[in-house]
Subunit: 567 residues, 2 copies
Amino acid sequence: MSKDALLHGPGPTNAPPALPDGGLRVVALGGIGEVGRNMTVFEYEGRLLIVDCGVFFPEDDQPGVDLILPDFRAIEDRLEDIEALVLTHGHEDHIGAVPFLLRLRPDLPVYGSRFTLALLAAKCKEHKQRPTLIEVREGERRDLGVFGLEFFAVNHSIPDGLAVAIRTPAGLVLHTGDIKLDQLPLDNRLTDLAGFARLGDEGVDLFCVDSTNAEVPGFVTPERDIGPVLDDVISQVDRRVIVACFASHVHRVQQVLDVAQAHGRRVAFVGRSMVRNMGIAVDLGLLQVPEGLLIDLDQAANLPESKVLFVSTGSQGEPLSALSRMARSEHRQISIRAGDTVVLASSLIPGNETAVFGVVNGLIRLGANVVHQGNAKVHVSGHASAGELLYLYNAVRPSNVMPVHGEWRHLRANGELAVRTGVDPRNVVIAEDGVVVDLIDGQATVTGRVEVGHVYVDGLSVGDVGESTLSDRLVLGEGGFLAINVVVDSSTGRAVSPPTVSGRGFSDDPKALDAVLPLVEMELSRTESEGITDPHRIAQSVRRVVGRWVAETYRRRPMIVPTVIPV
Amino acid sequence: MSKDALLHGPGPTNAPPALPDGGLRVVALGGIGEVGRNMTVFEYEGRLLIVDCGVFFPEDDQPGVDLILPDFRAIEDRLEDIEALVLTHGHEDHIGAVPFLLRLRPDLPVYGSRFTLALLAAKCKEHKQRPTLIEVREGERRDLGVFGLEFFAVNHSIPDGLAVAIRTPAGLVLHTGDIKLDQLPLDNRLTDLAGFARLGDEGVDLFCVDSTNAEVPGFVTPERDIGPVLDDVISQVDRRVIVACFASHVHRVQQVLDVAQAHGRRVAFVGRSMVRNMGIAVDLGLLQVPEGLLIDLDQAANLPESKVLFVSTGSQGEPLSALSRMARSEHRQISIRAGDTVVLASSLIPGNETAVFGVVNGLIRLGANVVHQGNAKVHVSGHASAGELLYLYNAVRPSNVMPVHGEWRHLRANGELAVRTGVDPRNVVIAEDGVVVDLIDGQATVTGRVEVGHVYVDGLSVGDVGESTLSDRLVLGEGGFLAINVVVDSSTGRAVSPPTVSGRGFSDDPKALDAVLPLVEMELSRTESEGITDPHRIAQSVRRVVGRWVAETYRRRPMIVPTVIPV
């Protein structure tokens, strides 16, 4: 069989067969074929184990949506079959949807490391939930019903990450979570490659591997190499410094604090999530803060410019974040001045470029100097590059591989790396969300598909905004609408008052719609003369006339909304 | 004066003073502070000369807009003062708005090189215009009234680019247009650095310089180095090859054709603009096509897969382009198959990442191998990097510098390069769109600002879609709308039929609005009991009630559109 046949293809459309006795089933309800909302369900002998439950942040074609959840339909009739939820680490795309799963099953036991659970607890508090949290740590084993779990330390861009091995009689699965192999990690907590190798000796039947950076050749630079770069940047300036980074990146912040301390600058945290997460990190001993280093914004305002450093949210150009407000001169406490230095110590997540560069341009326009990964090595990725993934494959020597956490381009690249280390191409399954993989007699096979759609959270409500609403929003967002209101005599169909035509999102010109009113009136005369009294038929006629007029006159496609009220 | 003081700041808000006799005024109506819609107006002794007149492609916060034009208001009362329009090259961001300027002044003489004018002529034909086109070439001089022009060859990502020197008694200006310094250009037409140096000897008073790549260190790889990479990619595959690139990049296409020829593949052009532009390039002798190389799509379908190569549009993920259709399995003639190789021989323009990666993922999912600038050197930029810009500054040795063609980050970086070559920081003017720069007695100074806004083209109409319409579209696109229709007795204010509440883009749930109707009815009873008969006041009350309900119930902000019809 050629390699081609396995590393592509939208896969099956059939519902999966019943899972044979002794087989293990794996289905991702999110996170494969996309970067975000990671959630993988393992099933053995009727029991379910879930790894991660994250959110996805909406894209341009999903307007007005706050969050996208994994699709729980495949498990919502089997909530009591779920043995546990295991969290690999505390990023939003791995824990963000937990409160929504807990709404369905409030007593679900949630396993994770200390920092992961602390972040989850803060999140659940906002949702007024009191989840059952069970702390585990690397090296530990837990038997949860039919599932034997073992946890391994992994290094990532957030402290306290775990990989999880899952033992059942069907075989041994290893799920990396998000992972990289920094060989000089700031906290000296290495990814446990030795442990993975030991599992490899035992025989890993299915290896689920982070695909994010599979396309990137080589190795990720150690996190600790950023420190000297930050030191160099900050040593050259005698005005204010603002460093923006992810609010969960404790090791990045640690290095910023160390550099600030070395240069006699005091530090203020800016942005709600930064303040909250760093508080948690200090409490857990993950962030070391020298006595007296931290100040608040009022204190910062009273210090000389050369003695202040801000650590801020907003590195992705989020419009409501502290840094975006500064760039628009809308932050209440910090006004950017000529000579300020702003460091974006962060990645540039694809899709965020316009927003991030908008912030950069705004800051520069106000006179700031902006340092970012494009002009200085102030960021390294949290995900293993191809070179590191090869180490993983060679340590684990898996029988079957299932790339996770990535778009198609990442999954394919990851699968190809597996093949290059000797994994049989027939044993590499690229299983996008919903594709069912069964591990039977040591062979992973795609056997079917369950339905997986996008579940949108908009405001307080989950799931009532669907594709039809989004499609209406796209039409309205592109062209606005024209509303035509007609009151007719219900027995004759005659208009009892002049029709009104108005538009929103159509034109700034108050006369833009003048010409359409006579056409509507003519059409109403016609429907009346034909004896049409059904409001729906009258509305259809009006929609047709107005739609044709606007297409011919403006070549635009606003939504046409006729309302015919019989009295 | 510190460098800070000149390289930043939003600049003045005052209207400019009258231009003194003997002074030269420069105002960009587009293209500075943004990448796109380049248009610079030069004024001397009451006469105007315009360099370029391009379009800008809208961003996320400008929904439904097709194009954005430079703001002509500053010149629309002075159309007869315009001596000429000079075009530096044929890209859309330099020529795309010409038909809209010609609507105001149909007899405006337009100067440009042969290929530039050929592309413009094709565009004007679509607009049913017959412009006055005057062909010029490098080395040529033209006296247009008070303006003495001299043209210089420049190398860019489209053939036949020109820089223009403008001589008036106020001084000598050199405008680069878009430029790079490929020292081994495919057509052997070098950027005329020697000519620039000669101008430098004469004394350049104001140097307007392309800023696009000023942040990028070093030098752009020669275009011709792409040929061997393409050769290497294509020599390794025996299935179909599809190369996507810009439809105006004649030299890129030339290299693709040469490689196809070398490997015995015949070539079909895909996409309307590719077919049109390459036809023009062949006619003008800019593209050399071996006899019998080109075939059409039907012929391609009948050849073995190893004998075919397609050259396609769609390298930026444009949703309607040929390549996007292929990625969605919607192209009528080309279905992507496992083993196809797709080469994106193109840049990844910031803001287009999501669209481009969407296409890449779609192609990979269908089994194609995708080669792009992230995994092979199949693209080089058309704009000078910092190293090349230093050559330009050192050749020209200008007295004053005005960075053009860039966002703030590019402009600032370009200005800093000028300073590093010895230009006095006080003589570097960062003049975003509308900022007025006067060159008087050899000194360029910012003297004021004219109003420059965004002029939107939507469908057939220009300018009637403005900020208020866009702001409505953004609201509608995020949250849809709720329409409440009420018919009231005009003398009593009593509702004569039950009010209706409906929503679009709000919810998929048919019961989502059930609870609001009683609230509206209650509010109508209240307004009636208070004797309120004014439809506007009734509508306001209804809007308030519904708005509050939806905010509390859903935490959403749809547009609330009450219509109260008195009968």
